[in-house]
Symmetry: C2
Subunit: 637 residues, 2 copies
């Protein structure tokens, strides 16, 4: 059922004024910084840890190492680096030495609690770690051609395939933290080995069947009731295991797990042509899109269980909106787009990428947000909202986000282009080039743009020999006016599901010039989102803006934007991030000097009118800690 095949990062060359500096920082700063914390916390030596030594491994440390390898591998492909390769090879050697004869591989369960192997799939993340190791091995193989890590993982996958399944003697389990499902499908994409597809399908199909495996397993362990986290109630929706996955109809539970299993489900639907599964994925995607997503593309609003809350419950100051969850949404959207070319998927992917994902990493690449709140009121008294940090952190106890954002940035090339039998589609606007084979002919595609700061995109389409195919250019959902020219002239084209479709006989040097009008816009939220009622946000192109205390002083919660006469000006502003544009808008707030000490008084506001400065949300908190707000009071008085 997969119609569009992403052009892999290996085949895409990015030379972009926005992204190239971010990709370089990721390679030069983030990857070494993450390595350093990974190493010094003991995660690497975990493979050879022995009881009595320091740095006792944690159950999900392998996943952090795996994601660091994966991120690094993506960079190695374009920027070979002997030292980095050595670091990875050293880890691979440790894994090879640690791997048990039967193929089992997990630093915690080999070294710390061998007897607990496969006894608590619900909580202990074994298959989750395996999934990330598989993804790491694939990336390293693709980047370097080295097989050792891949072979280790193939052996481990064989062991897993023997252990889990519906045959007699096998465990009918699946992981409490999904990830292996999508990893096995990636592996199938590389190996073409049906066993890998089948194993993923087993994990997906078995999930949530009654009686629930997690309960059976818990009973075997002699546990009464349920994990304390949820009290006595069986909240298997936390694990997306409350019912068989094809019956899911609302995005619930831990948002990262949800995003990963939905991605796995979409990949499986693409491979297997399972329409029912795809319809389920659409239902879940739409539930997120229409009821559970922040304007930043952040998902999972709730700290409790790092989870989705109920529909439209999207609080701003205490938003969880984990960086990893926004990344998971990128994965999910990207997989949906492979099945159905509809710009709605690319819009979500872009929204999450430019806002909720990129907000997760500092401009120097060395500090990270786990939670990405939509407004900030830093105060030491916020003891109940400790998950919301006003400043990015260098590391976390559960440090999933740093390596996750690193691997996404390093593999950005995979998200720009897709090809199919009929031609090629352009999903993200990033100055880059690729060469794809369409109907047997190599075609060079290149983009030049100053996106997201500017709406002009120039695409060159150069087939080796003139040939007939379709070029589909996404029309972003945020854009209401645009023009498209071919070789400088207006042409006729159709728009299908949000893509401008140009079918013709292409010849070398053909040039499409698209100009998306990109005004600063006031955005309102659905009245069901009570937290945003009476408020507006400002967006320009795909970029969501915010106001920061550093530019505008305190009391951002009191700022009202003049919605009748916003008087936007958009201008270049390199002060925080090179190439960035800032927005000024007419606004007012109450004069602090107009107040005595009273808490309440008859309404008689004295307003300061001023020009509010807005900066892109993803670069907030790169100066000193202070207030921040995306949603601002609507006002004209």
């Amino acid at each position: 059922m997969r119609k569009n095949i992403p052009v892999d990062f290996t085949d895409v060359y990015i030379r972009d004024s926005f992204w190239t500096p971010r990709i370089d920082i990721n390679r030069k700063n983030t990857i070494p910084a993450v390595y350093e914390f990974t190493r010094k916390t003991g995660r690497i030596d975990a493979w050879k840890w022995k009881p009595g030594k320091d740095n006792r491994p944690h159950i999900f440390w392998d996943s952090d190492v795996a994601k660091w390898i994966e991120a690094t591998a993506y960079t190695l492909e374009k920027n070979p680096d002997k030292n980095l390769e050595k670091q990875i090879d050293h880890i691979v050697d440790l894994m090879a030495a640690a791997q048990l004869k039967d193929g089992y591989l997990n630093s915690y369960f080999i070294n710390v609690e061998p007897k607990k192997r496969w006894t608590n799939l619900r909580d202990l993340h074994e298959l989750y770690c395996a999934g990330h190791l598989i993804e790491g091995a694939i990336a390293y193989f693709k980047a370097t051609g080295k097989r050792k890590f891949l072979d280790i993982m193939l052996k481990y996958v064989n062991h897993i395939a023997k252990t889990f399944g519906r045959k007699s003697g096998q465990k009918r389990g699946y992981c409490g933290h999904e990830e292996i499902e999508l990893a096995l499908l990636k592996l199938y994409g590389l190996t073409g080995d049906k066993k890998h597809l089948e194993l993923s399908k087993y994990f997906i199909d078995e999930r949530g069947k009654k009686p629930n495996y997690f309960s059976i397993e818990a009973e075997k362990r002699g546990e009464k009731g349920h994990w304390a986290f949820f009290g006595d109630k069986e909240n298997y929706d936390y694990y997306q295991a409350d019912k068989p996955v094809r019956e899911l109809d609302e995005a619930l539970g831990h948002a990262v797990r949800a995003g990963y299993i939905y991605s796995g489900m979409a990949s499986l639907a693409a491979e297997s042509g399972d329409r029912k599964l795809f319809e389920t994925c659409k239902k879940l995607f739409n539930n997120i899109l229409l009821k559970k997503m922040y304007i930043t593309g952040g998902i999972g609003s709730r700290k409790h269980g790092e989870s989705f809350s109920y529909e439209y419950d999207l609080q701003n100051e205490t938003a969880y909106a984990e960086t990893c969850a926004a990344i998971a949404l990128v994965f999910f959207s990207h997989r949906m787009l492979q099945i159905e070319q509809n710009s709605v998927y690319a819009d979500v992917m872009e929204r999450a990428l430019y806002n909720g994902v990129m907000s997760g990493v500092s401009l120097d690449g060395k500090a990270f947000f786990y939670s990405n709140p939509l407004s900030a009121y830093p105060h030491p008294g916020n003891i109940l909202e400790e998950h919301v940090k006003p400043e990015r952190q260098k590391w976390f106890g559960c440090s999933c986000c740093p390596s996750n954002v690193a691997r996404l940035i390093a593999s950005l090339g995979s998200y720009i282009y897709m090809k199919n039998d009929d031609g090629i589609s352009i999903n993200l606007f990033i100055s880059s080039s690729t060469s794809v084979n369409i109907k047997g002919n190599p075609v060079l595609i290149s983009q030049k743009t100053n996106y997201p700061w500017d709406g002009s995109v120039s695409v060159e389409v150069s087939p080796d020999v003139p040939s007939d195919f379709k070029v589909c250019v996404r029309i972003p959902g945020w854009c209401s006016k645009y023009s498209l020219k071919l070789n400088g002239a207006n042409i006729k084209f159709s728009v299908v599901d949000g893509y401008a479709v140009i079918r013709r006989q292409w010849k070398a040097g053909d040039k499409i010039d698209i100009s998306f009008e990109m005004p600063a816009m006031l955005i309102e939220a659905n009245p069901e989102i009570r937290h945003d009622c009476g408020k507006v946000a400002i967006q320009r192109g795909p970029i969501v803006y915010c106001a920061e205390e550093a530019d505008n002083g305190k009391h951002l919660y009191d700022v009202a934007v003049d919605v009748l006469n916003p008087g936007f000006t958009v201008s270049p502003d390199d002060s925080i991030f090179k190439g960035s544009k800032m927005i000024l808008v007419n606004a007012s707030k109450r004069k602090a000097s107009g107040w005595g000490k009273e808490l309440y008084r008859p309404y008689n506001p004295k307003l300061d009118k001023f020009r509010l400065k807005l900066i892109p949300y993803f670069i907030w908190a790169n100066r000193k800690s202070g207030e921040m707000a995306i949603w601002l009071n609507r006002g004209a008085i």
Copy 2:
């Protein structure tokens, strides 16, 4: 230092269109309902509980029984009731039988854990229970003249006085939950026994001294670290025991405990003339008034520790604002007013009473709020905000509020008048009469008013013989325009600290007519309260209004009040509460029909303009569960 002596409930006769029905409901419904739960949960039989039986006593059950007795006693004085008296006498008999020879009295520590007596003052509420029993005994003695309960308590107080103090062999402790301090001062007011004053003074003075008694005690119990509730951190400010009380300068910690100890401190200052202590009380009162009080008079915004949050942190939907805390604020204000006649204290007392306290009980008197949120969005998904109920409850596990609100309503007579050497002051406007002795002459004072629905108050001052004294009438802080006439004619009078002071030769039948203009008013909150920024509330007289879904449909968070042209109309509305007035105001909200399914879109609101109906906040949630809001978006568009 006490200048004003409250006229006791025993000497005040209330015949008021607002309060008499509430007082009758309290007597006829609340008191029996509270008794029934008190009895059937085992709280009464706790005095004779034996190991192995059902309903094992809880450490603070005695306080619930005591407060029920206290509330009932206040009603008995004006409405003798043999059955109720029998119920109390039965309990008193049980207490007499349970009391140990040394005077000790506590159903939990006598029957359940005798060895733990006085071993954990920090957490186990022993002296707190004693305090409430003392208050119950005083009320019952005043109402009926019966001494048995009082004698039991005098014996217990003797035991406590022997146990605690600074002499060798005594424990230098004080209670983790304050209450006994104010109770002992009440007892001193009755007995004139200096020992009772001294014991209270000891508890107040000793509190918070270093080394902290709670730490010493915990060490003796072999406990490491601190109570799990706070992690390892010593958060003695939760108990107002982080430093000696005279050094306190910010309202912190558990709000009910804070309100009780501040009340005790103010009473002690009044008795002892301790100016430093009074200045501390003023500092704390002002900290609450200017930085930590909801517009409803609710205090303690935070669920965590049922405590004060940091300054200006007054969230609405998740407000804790415990009914008991608003009651404690009434106590504190009332005591401050006794030292210093300033309307600011009476204003706070009135604000809390008519809003944050009365919201705590349903109109049928049988259901109660523990938390009193300022906005409601009932949803089963609000699992983290379980303290905020959208409907009043019949009982609670920790059921302190029902009997507390019952005793306050039953003793309302004590809060209206105060007398001093120079005359009398009128602090609350409630149709009522009293006879007080001023300079040796009996003076009959009576008020007639339809307050709080109407601002006209008629006061008759009738001395037995013509005599010279002052009558002070409070000018409420909410009132900016008023007129005052004496026997139908304008007179000259001074206004001192918010009181109109009329000094003259009074003769029988003299009549003061005061008319407070009482328009509906828009109120704004200090810009430091981020939760109320961009919003207004509506208040009329002392009554804070709110909008309910039952009148206005859903999406109250989206309602904007036309602040440029509110177009208020105020009209009688008996539909929920007899005599009540409702307010209509110009408002708008976005048309639900104007929206597709999208979560976010370019700002283009389609507004429904309508007349928003507001009802008094204290009667909210007396119909079916739904949305409610006090603070509404400010809008004129």
